[in-house]
């Protein structure tokens, strides 16, 4: 009771939403029965899940583990440096982490440091929220040539992810870069390549990336999409931003803007697509594609799909992308318009290719996985044994975020996703599903600490991240940046243990 009051006063002092202590269960004089939950992954999906668990269950104790020493997932390593407003959400996540019922364990890798079955034995519910750390492949010849990277790798590189700090993409061998795909990530990489370096210098972009970009010879960026402007996957805000970049000439072919009745129908049904199309048409007519001032160029290439990568003279680096012209056809099954090849080809010369055709999740030992869709089969967040119709529910296992839905959506999409999964968990708890008599007692945090101790895993607590955070911000102050990221595994470990 006193402990409850202490939590309450702490929450009152800190954060209003945390006043919601959860449903009273019967006679509230005794402490609520603890529900031990482990969330694997500390991005938005993981943190929103923890947040909703605390709000929905008085006795919930949530441990969030992440393989990196730093939390927040793609908010730290994916959101572009020139989009600081999108990162404000970490304030909310930090408040969740500060909750006495929450513990963060950085530098703990599922599979290597602890197995799924060990987690299952230690917690009533395990929620997989580790997102998508791999890429869809095109599967065309030449994909392994030098100079071809996935957009994810490039983004991790300029955002200082310790796995990619040594990527060293060559930005000096060419004046043309090609981004395959026209979603927001493709726009991000194009914008970083084209944005005036003085503007980037005051963001949290890494030092080495800024240097490389300063020395970059890239002046033309092509955004290549299989379909037309009506189907472009980017959203209005990002498009508006890139179309307004200083000193960049926008090149869009008027012919590509012609719409069919099927296109009109699509636009009638989707507000996003309608507004994106309008932005592209306006840009096409305004700029007319004429580059008088020797500006940099951004080309929107529609109705082209890549069929092979052609090497340059040295035989090992990319020299050009072979593109096939496409037309749109209605797919009978899905009703959507799909791109179909016409047999006409053309080559696009370039020295850098960034594939932005989608992320892909990685399977983990002991977890059912749908290889085709690249997600964990689930029903409203409850993990299923397979994707077939006769699948059964795996007790105590849940999934949230990109691993559940596929790698699409924005930060806020995970909010709704987490609410659904948490609703399933709470339902199951009410029904007693999570505490079958056959199960031995779950020790939660103390159990995890024991296992990590036994295996000699040097985990990073949230206070360790706070040390990293404060060091980065201090270093950033010296250079007029919000932070100067620490980008190596060693560097992060050292800072966390200062």
């Amino acid at each position: 009771m006193a402990r409850g009051l202490w939590f309450l006063s702490r929450a009152v002092g800190r954060l209003r939403p945390l006043l919601v202590q959860g449903p009273t269960r019967g006679f509230s004089a005794s402490a609520p029965e603890q529900l031990h939950v482990c969330v694997v992954g500390s991005g938005p999906a993981g943190f929103y899940t923890a947040d909703r668990m605390f709000k929905g269950h008085e006795g919930a104790q949530v441990d969030i583990i992440d393989r990196l020493p730093t939390p927040f997932g793609l908010v730290r390593s994916g959101v572009a440096p020139d989009h600081p407003e999108t990162k404000i959400v970490v304030n909310q996540f930090s408040r969740v982490a500060a909750n006495g019922r929450c513990s963060f364990f950085g530098n703990v890798t599922l599979g290597r440091d602890i197995s799924l079955s060990e987690l299952h034995k230690t917690y009533h519910a395990v929620v997989l929220a580790y997102g998508a750390e791999s890429d869809r492949l095109l599967g065309i010849p030449g994909e392994d040539l030098k100079g071809i990277h996935s957009a994810r790798e490039f983004v991790w590189w300029y955002n200082g992810h310790p796995d990619m700090c040594d990527l060293c993409p060559d930005l000096k061998n060419t004046e043309s870069a090609v981004a395959l795909g026209q979603g927001n990530v493709a726009l991000d990489v194009a914008r970083i390549l084209l944005r005036c370096k003085a503007e980037l210098a005051t963001t949290d972009i890494t030092d080495y990336a800024l240097d490389a970009l300063r020395g970059s010879t890239i002046r033309k960026v092509y955004l290549v999409g299989r379909r037309g402007p009506v189907q472009a996957a980017c959203t209005a805000k990002e498009l508006r931003e890139i179309l307004g970049l200083k000193n960049v000439c926008i090149c869009i072919k008027e012919a590509d803007l012609l719409t069919t009745p099927a296109d009109e129908e699509e636009m009638r049904n989707s507000r996003i697509q309608r507004r994106v199309y309008e932005l592209l048409s306006k840009a096409a007519s305004a700029h007319g594609g004429n580059n008088y001032n020797d500006q940099k160029e951004l080309h929107f290439v529609f109705f082209r799909r890549p069929t092979r990568f052609i090497p340059a003279e040295n035989g090992s680096t990319i020299g050009a992308v072979q593109l096939e012209k496409t037309v749109l056809k209605g797919d009978e099954v899905t009703g959507k318009q799909v791109a179909v090849g016409t047999g006409e080809f053309e080559d696009l010369k370039c020295g850098l290719v960034l594939k932005s055709i989608g992320y892909k999740s990685l399977p983990v030992q002991g977890l059912p996985f749908d290889k085709n869709r690249g997600v964990v089969p689930n029903l409203r967040g409850r993990v299923l044994s397979s994707e077939s119709e006769t699948a059964t529910v795996e007790r105590g296992l849940y999934v949230v975020g990109w691993l559940k839905r596929g790698p699409t959506g924005i930060v806020a999409t995970n909010l709704h996703c987490a609410e659904e999964t948490v609703a399933s968990i709470l339902e199951d708890d009410k029904k007693g599903v999570l505490r079958p008599p056959s199960d031995s007692k779950k020790h939660g945090r103390t159990g995890l600490l024991e296992i990590l101790e036994q295996k000699n895993v040097r985990f990073v607590p949230f206070s360790g991240w706070e040390k990293i955070d404060s060091m980065e911000r201090m270093a950033g102050q010296l250079r007029n940046k919000p932070r100067e990221k620490i980008t190596t595994w060693d560097g992060l470990q050292k800072a966390a243990n200062e």
Partner: protein
């Protein structure tokens, strides 16, 4: 029943030094300091939930406030003469009426008696009124009170806004003019997400304006807001971002619905913290 309560009330006023106390449950004749007005509660300790930007207060409002609730307050002088007492009681009664009028406009209290008394107040200088039991309760136990009520109800400094959850439960709050709905929601413990804290970089504070007349009174959304609304869950024709809807007098009585997914997970037995 109302008369009985009122007579009991005036009895106590005449003969007791009525303690100036506040808080849910007590007879709250004074509202807690909202604008740092220098009255019994010092300026230096405003209510913690009140945003610092409002500490300056509204000069006009505080003047009016002082007129109604100045040291000529009934209980503070001890037992005054009945003739001195009556105008004050009637002012109090008038204030109770205004509360009920405000509630009526907000749609929370639909009482024909309230409307009848409204007519009375306008016609008589010293009205003999019976506040409805409901309005009395609202005044005494309301978690929010509107302090700066103008007799002629022009240029109000605060408006009444109701937030409606998907399950139908409602909460009516008082919002100072110039404050955004997101800020107001957070001030009143309404669970409206604000991931980007009002920077137009997300759609989590999405609200639905329930009455199209109120929607039309809002300024058109800027491109940046529309860009974010594109991505909002459960978008409707009258959707707006809560951080971009700023309180103004014409919006008094507006009702905002929280879309399904924005509402935080419902909690049984949750009691709003009284101010």
């Amino acid at each position: 029943m109302g008369w009985a309560l009122f007579s009991l009330y005036t009895y106590f006023l005449q003969w007791a030094a009525w303690p100036i106390s506040c808080g849910g449950g007590g007879l709250c004749l004074q509202t807690p300091p909202r604008h740092g007005v220098s009255r019994p509660h010092p300026n230096s300790s405003p209510s913690p939930s009140f945003p610092p930007s409002w500490r300056g207060g509204h000069a006009a409002g505080s003047r009016r406030f002082r007129t109604v609730r100045s040291p000529s307050f009934p209980g503070s002088e001890g037992a005054g003469s009945a003739t001195a007492m009556f105008p004050r009681i009637s002012r109090l009664g008038a204030r109770l009426l205004r509360e009920s009028r405000a509630e009526t406009r907000a749609g929370n209290l639909r009482s024909s008696r309230g409307i009848l008394y409204q007519g009375h107040v306008n016609r008589h200088s010293t009205p003999v009124v019976t506040p409805t039991v409901l309005s009395l309760r609202n005044v005494l136990l309301s978690t929010t009170t509107s302090g700066d009520q103008d007799e002629s109800s022009q240029a109000k400094d605060k408006i009444s806004v109701t937030f409606v959850n998907e399950d139908g439960s409602e909460k009516t709050i008082s919002v100072p003019v110039g404050m955004s709905m997101l800020e107001a929601a957070h001030e009143n413990d309404i669970e409206l997400e604000g991931a980007c804290e009002g920077s137009l970089a997300c759609s989590t504070c999405h609200v639905i304006v329930m009455d199209v007349n109120y929607y039309n009174k809002l300024e058109d959304p800027a491109d940046e807001e529309n860009d974010m609304l594109d991505l909002a869950f459960g978008l409707t024709e009258t959707s707006r971002l809560g951080c971009q809807v700023i309180a103004k007098p014409e919006l008094d009585g507006m009702r905002l619905a929280l879309p399904v997914a924005t509402r935080n997970f419902a909690v049984d037995g949750y009691v709003p913290k009284p101010h």
